[in-house]
């Protein structure tokens, strides 16, 4: 269905929370260098799916193939090792440390002093300053603790750190929800740039305009099932909204 070489294939993914079936049978494919917009109503199951791919949640059943191999991450660090970067809807920042420490969380740069690895604060600060400047986000000082930052400033840190690590697949769960106009524009550009490097991108958003601006393909989830999977150029915002709310039944491009 897509013209991209497949990167991640989801096959019949299900997830139950107790008696609640959050995902009923999700199957679709994300290609290399492809930007897929994952759309759906509140509670449709988008974040659940992202967490399953990112290793934060175990699916009840189903299988995934990543980069040609069977894949099931048992923890976020496994998924990261495989090349999957994730920006979560509920931010994942440690508000008790500063911007730099958050940006490099888990991947600190070190240098050798007397044979021991010592944090290289200067090198890290330089990287962060560059990344945030190019994203258009103004932050009083990179040494402020994140608890003193505004909602949008926080999201900017989380959104921009993923670019730095490359990887093969990027999952973005409502990454622009708190971003300003200019920051969103640059964010969308960045996504395209990332995809052009051959990295697959999954982006979740509720703003049609954003989806149509950046995505190659749109996948709609409704109440835990795929209610639509179409190339962006073959559909229109109104048609997609109808898929999301269910006014036309599983229309415009069959599921799977």
């Amino acid at each position: 269905m897509t013209s991209f070489a497949p990167l991640l294939v989801l096959d019949d993914i299900r997830k139950n929370y107790g008696a609640i079936e959050a995902l009923k049978s999700i199957s679709f494919t994300i290609g290399k260098g492809e930007v897929v917009a994952l759309l759906g109503d509140n509670g449709a199951g988008k974040s659940t799916l992202v967490k399953i791919i990112a290793g934060g949640l175990e699916p009840t059943s189903g299988r995934m193939t990543f980069d040609g191999r069977d894949f099931l991450a048992k923890s976020p660090s496994e998924a990261k090792a495989a090349g999957i970067e994730t920006v979560y809807q509920d931010l994942s920042l440690a508000t008790n440390v500063d911007v730099v420490a958050n940006f490099f969380m888990g991947r600190e740069i070190t240098r050798k002093v007397l044979g021991m690895s010592v944090l290289d604060e200067k090198a890290m600060e330089a990287v962060v300053a560059k990344a945030l400047a190019s994203a258009g986000t103004r932050i009083p000082s990179l040494r402020t603790k994140v608890e003193h930052l505004s909602g949008g400033q926080r999201q900017a840190i989380e959104l921009n750190r993923f670019v730095h690590w490359g990887g093969k697949l990027v999952l973005l769960d409502e990454p622009f929800a708190a971003l300003g106009v200019e920051q969103t524009r640059r964010g969308l550009e960045m996504i395209r740039a990332v995809a052009n490097q051959g990295i697959g991108v999954v982006i979740i958003t509720h703003i049609m305009q954003q989806a149509f601006q950046v995505a190659d393909r749109i996948v709609v989830i409704r109440q835990g099932v795929v209610a639509g999977d179409v190339a962006t150029k073959d559909t229109s915002p109104d048609a997609v909204v109808n898929m999301i709310t269910g006014e036309t039944l599983a229309a415009a491009g069959a599921a799977g």
């Binding site: 934060g56 976020p76 600190e108 010592v118």
Partner: protein
């Protein structure tokens, strides 16, 4: 407010506990008879070595967002283990190694093995089984003390091998080597916390464990390590305790836990995790030790010392808390 005043004030606030220590020493020197003499200051530093070392381990797990109430009992157990093997009187077996000095590494090894094992036990239950650290280590506090009792049968060991005891007798610049060991520990662990990835990750985990997990930090491994460290460091404290008392009794070290917590909090470590640095903790330890010494010298009725001790500690913690509100006023 002009920037210079602000900077000066911030400096005082950042190092408040050191200023408190100075202030308290000054007040006691003026009002408590016999307080002002070098020997007393040496005593304060010496008496704080056991507590100080123990506080380091406690501070580590608290910064990581958890807690370890078992450190006191762990110290007692390791002291008893060392005492039983290397004491020549009481229940001591009086093991003799040749050369003599071999007793030092061997006894240290015994102590650290005991402490690490209990730390690992705590850590596994807390991290792998997701039990609450408070309750797990409270239970350890009980059962480890129980082991001390069972091991010793309630009896004591005395006359520690002179090669080990040497650390408590030999002095350098007026302080016994035990005190220097404590100071060294503070320096090393302060550097680890401030400069290493391990320290950075510990602080991040204390701030937001879930974020650290999602960022791919091996949270479980680091947390278990920190509990093992807390156990091992407590065991080192126990080793120092055994040296200090030249042996071990079944109730050795009782009450240290309260003081360790107080020191850690006065030193600026937040019990909610994620906030704190070790140099402040050392100042907190010295502060408590200064208070203790003053109480010993003041000649109060025996039944009232406990009230006074409790309230003085509370006052110290209170002062430290005021820091926060002053800082907000500064804004």
């Amino acid at each position: 407010m002009n920037p210079n005043t602000r900077r000066a004030l911030e400096f005082v606030l950042d190092n408040l506990v050191w200023f408190m220590l100075l202030f308290v020493l000054l007040v006691f020197s003026i009002f408590v008879p016999n307080y002002f003499q070098p020997g007393i200051f040496a005593n304060i530093i010496e008496a704080s070595s056991v507590l100080g070392v123990m506080s380091i381990g406690l501070a580590l797990v608290i910064i990581a967002g958890h807690m370890d109430l078992s450190v006191e009992s762990v110290a007692a157990l390791s002291a008893m283990a060392v005492g039983i093997v290397f004491c020549s009187a009481g229940i001591g077996m009086g093991v003799q190694l040749t050369p003599d000095w071999l007793g030092v590494p061997v006894s240290l090894l015994i102590a650290l093995a005991v402490g690490s094992a209990i730390g690992a036990f705590n850590g596994l239950l807390i991290v792998k089984l997701k039990m609450n650290a408070f309750i797990v280590t409270l239970a350890s506090y009980i059962w480890v003390r129980g082991v001390v009792l069972a091991l010793s049968g309630g009896r004591s060991a005395q006359d520690l091998a002179p090669a080990i005891r040497w650390f408590g007798v030999q002095r350098l610049l007026g302080l016994p080597l035990t005190a220097w060991i404590a100071i060294l520990c503070f320096v090393v662990f302060s550097l680890i916390m401030a400069k290493s990835r391990f320290g950075r990750h510990l602080i991040i985990i204390g701030g937001n464990q879930n974020a650290a997990f999602r960022a791919g930090i091996k949270v479980d491994r680091i947390l278990i390590t920190s509990f093992v460290l807390a156990g091992a460091i407590a065991a080192l404290a126990g080793w120092l305790l055994a040296i200090r008392t030249s042996g071990a009794t079944a109730n050795l070290g009782m009450g240290l836990l309260f003081n360790a917590f107080a020191a850690v909090v006065i030193g600026g470590v937040s019990l909610k995790g994620g906030v704190g640095a070790l140099p402040g903790v050392y100042a907190g330890v010295l502060l408590l030790s200064a208070i203790n010494t003053a109480i010993n010298l003041m000649g109060l009725p025996a039944t009232s010392t406990q009230v006074i001790h409790g309230l003085l500690v509370l006052a110290a913690v209170l002062l430290d808390t005021l820091k926060l509100s002053i800082r907000q006023k500064l804004a």
